[in-house]
């Protein structure tokens, strides 16, 4: 069977281009795509939102195929929907409920690319991509902060639950009164800040012992997830 030489050239070019792309380049493209989609959620007219819905649907399918959990995002979207629709009904009646639904859809469409990015790309790669535009130290800081996000959330929840059991006035109902906010800061944020200050000291020592910042051109520790 004869193959068209033009077609063979195009296929060869595409293969060479894809060969040059490594995981960091894919991560950069994912970051750009995520930013583009998030921004479009607010800029596109309502009539063109279906395009974004389709694209975000693809991202959700990709995330779910990789067995990433989406329940937290769905919970946030449900709360947003209930509160926003409630407010729209209260202020404008039934006439503008559809507009309220569109607003919630836009917020959800702005959040979905972020979920996809953070669940499919490892923070080490994101840090590497950010280091192209940021000084290496700050790129390391952003990547470290993002990778510590689950730790921070877990610690925050644990301290919050323990303080609630001790009778602190920081339950969701009590926090509706701003008078109780200082108690939230002293009971929950202060212990967490103490831990974070200690952690930042330990991480800085650990990084310095690994000669962080000594090389003229920064190197990146390979992700353990890449080898899996």
């Amino acid at each position: 069977m004869r193959v068209n030489p033009l077609r063979r050239l195009a296929v060869g070019k595409r293969r060479r281009f894809l060969g040059r792309l490594n995981k960091t380049h894919y991560c950069a493209l994912a970051l750009l795509l995520s930013l583009l989609l998030s921004t479009s959620a607010f800029l596109l007219p309502s009539s063109a939102l279906w395009i974004l819905v389709a694209l975000n649907g693809g991202l959700v399918v990709h995330g779910l195929l990789l067995k990433k959990k989406i329940s937290a995002l769905l919970k946030i979207a449900t709360v947003q929907l209930v509160t926003t629709m409630g407010l729209y009904y209260l202020f404008h009646g039934e006439s503008q409920l559809l507009e309220g639904a569109v607003v919630v859809l836009r917020v959800l469409l702005a959040m979905l690319p972020g979920w996809w990015l953070s669940s499919t790309q490892p923070p080490e790669r994101l840090g590497e991509v950010l280091s192209w535009g940021l000084p290496h130290q700050w790129a390391f800081v952003v990547a470290a902060s993002l990778s510590l996000l689950p730790f921070m959330s877990r610690e925050l929840k644990e301290i919050y639950q323990i303080q609630c059991m001790r009778g602190a006035r920081i339950t969701p109902k009590a926090l509706r009164n701003p008078k109780n906010w200082p108690e939230f800061i002293y009971c929950v944020l202060l212990p967490l800040l103490i831990q974070l200050l200690k952690l930042s000291k330990q991480m800085a020592i650990s990084a310095k012992l690994r000669h962080f910042g000594n090389a003229a051109k920064a190197t990146h520790w390979p992700s353990t997830r890449d080898s899996e």
Binding site: L31, S34, L35, S38, T39, A41, F42, I76, V79, Q80, T83, R106, V107, A110, M111, L112, P113, G114, W115, L117, S118, L126, L130, L134, P135, H136, Q137, W138, V141, V142, A144, S145, L146, L148, L149, M152, S153, P172, L175, R176, P178, W181, P182, I185, L189, L190, L192, L193, I194, L196, L197, K198, L199, S200, K201, M203, A204, K208, F212, G213
Partner: protein, 181 residues
């Protein structure tokens, strides 16, 4: 962003920025109060200034919070959220350049918090004007935003010196820091 911060300080600034974004997204859901974001923003920005003790750390914290919020898609502005976090931070840092050492820490915090709130409300005013709102309504909204945000910002500014004193009592702040009165 200048990279002359110690790595330890830079990491603490990054953690504060991330915690600010996480808490902001949590409180937005549960409270839904307008202007409450100034409480957290002021608290974490001033805490960074108190703990790191260097002009520029508030701007660094603001820009990092913007980047993290953008990457996690927290807030409604997409990449424009960088401005929302960055503008008050730059205004606060510039104010600190002018008033550092003139007042006691508590008054410094209050003044810096009010200037940050002014920058935050001004951003909303500019947006409303660009959207075609009339001068009167835009100014009314600006005044309302400034009042609401100002109350929260002052509340946070008054708490910061106490928190810093407690952190110092745990021997977690470096020696070059002053007494937090």
């Amino acid at each position: 962003m200048k990279s002359h911060f110690e790595l330890e300080d830079a990491l603490f600034i990054g953690f504060c920025a991330t915690l600010l974004v996480v808490l902001k997204s949590m409180l937005r859901l549960k409270l839904g109060l307008s202007g409450h974001s100034m409480f957290l923003m002021t608290f974490f920005y001033l805490l960074c200034y108190g703990a790191v003790g260097r002009v520029g750390c508030i701007t660094a914290c603001g820009l990092l919070a913007g980047i993290v919020a953008m990457m996690l898609s927290v807030g409604k502005g997409g990449p424009l959220i960088l401005l929302k976090f960055g503008l008050p931070a730059v205004a606060m840092d510039l104010t600190l350049l002018m008033i550092a050492g003139v007042f006691k820490l508590r008054w410094q915090c209050v003044i810096v918090a009010l200037i940050g709130c002014l920058a935050w409300a001004s951003k909303g005013w500019v947006e409303n004007m660009l959207a075609g709102m009339t001068h009167q309504i835009a100014l009314t909204k600006f005044a309302l935003n400034f009042l609401q945000g100002g109350v929260f910002a002052i509340g946070a500014a008054l708490i910061v010196p106490t928190v810093l004193r407690r952190l110092q009592s745990h021997d977690l702040l470096q020696d070059h820091h002053k007494q937090y009165k």
